[in-house]
């Protein structure tokens, strides 16, 4: 199961998609909006996706993980649009017969989502905003004031 949605995510419903009688372990990851970044108060995150390609990459990640760990019961659902503090932006659920594989596979799925899926998040502060770059801090210098928040 993969998906991109503008609606709030339901982690239990997504987790239940991967539960099977042959599985003894289910690992679920929730990515949630933190209230601060380097001491600055964050008001919300705003996610944008290249949806067609993002869904394609999420399906590729499922196949990758299946090839590496032999695990087919994988769900990846990303929320886009504004996500308030404490709310969930990403749910990854992985189930397998034993726990070790489920932990490793779930962790790897999350890492890969952050590496290759074309989704972007903007941190919105009280006095501005910045587009986050995937952990490499390539673009973590403060952005100039946003000129065009929406050009569609």
């Amino acid at each position: 199961m993969i998906g991109i949605t503008h609606e709030p995510l339901n982690p239990e419903q997504i987790t239940n998609q991967v539960r099977q009688d042959g599985n003894g372990a289910v690992v679920t990851f929730l990515g949630t909006t933190r209230d601060s970044f380097e001491g600055k108060r964050v008001l919300k995150l705003d996610y944008e996706a290249y949806e067609e390609m993002a869904l394609k990459k999420m399906a590729e990640i499922q196949q990758e993980i299946c090839a590496e760990f032999g695990i087919a019961d994988i769900a990846i659902v990303h929320r886009i649009g504004p996500v308030d503090i404490g709310q969930i932006s990403l749910v990854v659920a992985v189930a397998s017969p034993h726990r070790k594989e489920a932990f490793y596979a779930c962790h790897k799925v999350v890492d890969r989502v952050k590496e290759i899926v074309p989704i972007w998040k903007k941190e919105v502060f009280e006095d501005g905003s910045r587009w986050v770059a995937c952990e490499d801090h390539e673009f973590t210098h403060p952005e100039p004031a946003v000129l065009n928040t929406d050009n569609d």
Binding site: G31, A49, M53, V113, W120, C134, L147, N148
Partner: protein, 81 residues
């Protein structure tokens, strides 16, 4: 050839637009495209940062040849999750 290039996120905001119609000589590559884009938007990305391009919803090598009708998108560093 005639191409429509889509900008996302950081690049959309820096360019100040979401889509751009562009003429590129036939046989042009992804690198030709990003060179053209950099000339037009010098502040899109620092010179040492590679501009990643997706062609038809797949990450494209810099030397990939483009064709009329390709769906071309500029992909800033991703940050989902």
């Amino acid at each position: 050839m005639h191409l429509v290039v889509t900008f996302f996120a950081l690049y959309r905001e820096r360019a100040g637009l979401r889509q751009l119609a562009l003429e590129l000589p036939d046989g042009g590559t992804v690198t030709d495209l990003t060179d053209t884009i950099r000339q037009r938007f010098p502040n899109l990305a620092p010179p040492d940062v590679k501009i990643v391009v997706a062609v038809n919803a797949e990450y494209a090598d810099p030397d990939l040849a483009l064709h009329e009708g390709d769906e071309v998108c500029l992909i800033p560093p991703v940050s989902g999750g």
